[in-house]
């Protein structure tokens, strides 16, 4: 299985060789998508874990046993209206009409509640007005 998770950890926890352990002991493939550690060594890490279901579950158990909070990652898509030139390209790729064009005015608008984060719009926008954001709490 493959899952994206966010880990929140404190200073003592950040000194643990967790990535090494996940790879070596639990046979998981770890892909770090984002890491943010402050000077006090507290922080968060967004990672993608891939491996057998049993290994994955034990790996998560291991992290929890260290007191590291693990949560499934939720991603959101943001539309920066100020950068958008209203070309309409994204609306033709969006499968859910979250990005949709009003045909009379030919203007594009974004309705976050309809977005399923499929990512289709991210590639096609020439002004990079659409970006993917990881929904992350303030680090503990």
């Amino acid at each position: 299985m493959k899952n994206r998770i966010v880990l929140y950890f404190s200073a003592t926890q950040s000194e643990q060789p967790i990535i090494y352990q996940l790879v070596k002991e639990y046979d998981l493939v770890v892909n770090i998508l984002k890491a943010n550690i402050n000077p006090q060594k507290e922080g968060l890490m967004v990672m993608e874990l891939t491996g057998e279901k049993d290994n994955y579950d034990s790996g998560i158990e291991y992290l929890s046993s260290l007191g590291i909070a693990c949560e499934p990652l939720s991603e959101t898509v943001m539309w920066n209206e100020a950068l958008c030139i209203q070309c309409g390209a994204c609306a033709s790729f969006c499968p859910t009409e979250a990005l949709a064009m009003e045909r009379e005015s030919m203007e594009v608008s974004f309705d976050n509640s309809k977005c399923v984060v499929c990512g289709m719009c991210l590639e096609c926008c020439p002004t990079r007005a659409i970006t993917l954001h990881f929904d992350i709490k303030e680090a503990v």
Partner: protein
Amino acid sequence: MSYQKSYEEINEKIRKGEAVVVTAEEVIDIVEEKGYAQAAREIDVVTTGTFGPMCSSGAFINFGHANPRIKMKKVWLNGVEAYTGMAAVDAYLGAGQLPESDPENKVYPGRFTYGGGHVIQDLVAGKEVRLEAIAYGTDCYPNRALETIITLDDVNEAFMFNPRNAYQNYNCAVNLGDRPLYTYMGILRPKLGNAAYSTSGQLSPLLNDPHYKTIGIGTRIFLGGGIGYVSWNGTQHHPNVLRGENGVPKTPAGTLSVIGDLKQMDPNWLVGLSYVGYGATMAIGIGIPIPILDEEILHYTAVKDEDIFCPIVDFFEGYPYKKDIDLGFANFKELKSGKITINGKQVVTTPQSSYPRARKIAATLKEWITAGKFEISQPVQMLPGADSNIDFKSIPDRHPANGIIFNSRMGGNKYEK
């Protein structure tokens, strides 16, 4: 002989604040209501607009001299190289130029997040930009390298000079292949997954003056939020193509080369773009006023989306390998509805140019003219028209006859032993 107006008569009305100016959209309804004869008397100017990617664009910049003086051999702005094979501190920055560090399509499809168009937008936005230059040094220009930070205010001249803009009509691009294509028309999904089109249709400058009766060399225009001029026909200007009964070309045809002072332009109307898998470019806003000199010209400006057709072209094999694949034509009303039918299949349409922005340009130009801030200009020379005999040329495949030596970069290795 029907009613006629001269450029000077129209300008006199503009100066007095009495000119009747409408956009190329508004004129359609007015003509329907009042008829051509009446509308031609009343309307003085019809404004057009287009806002979309125009790769063949760039700007000339004169940086002024450093101390000691430098004859630039190479120059970069934010890491993007500008061409400086001219006088010491003159350069031309092209919209499609990439930084040398750009990974291009090595990891396919590349992102092309920053290029010449983005630099131009940054400059116009008043941002600070890194200037680097190298030189070999001469007695008159001893400096060999410089590195500094500049803004648009620091340079002497900066003028946009675009070899090819405002294409009169353009292909509608589709993909008959079985993998996605990353093109200058955007992403084309396989097996007729979408159809990408450009130009603003009934608002587009050259579609409203299909025979270039008023748009010519010297025409004053809206360019990038400022005032510019048509400087020549654009590159690949090919007016002698298939046209409809209304005179509108049914394939890509005329083009314009335009010029204007970058220092009075606006970053909202010059926007750097990144086309995944293709490259960097920029969107340029252009608006052209069309003086209603007579009823015939009014006829042209009243053209509607449903009467403008463009060819549907396959970008899997048809376009890149110049194969003839007939997929018919689409009209702009259908294209703008969001779906067209190709070979009996419904296909979603993907616009490249921004219709809301084109509308805004036409409206802005209307405002300028109505307020007496912008006068129309009579071309000093007309562009080659539909009756010209222009050959659309390709690069010939030749190699030198035995014993003749040409200077070359690659040593002529491709052909000669």
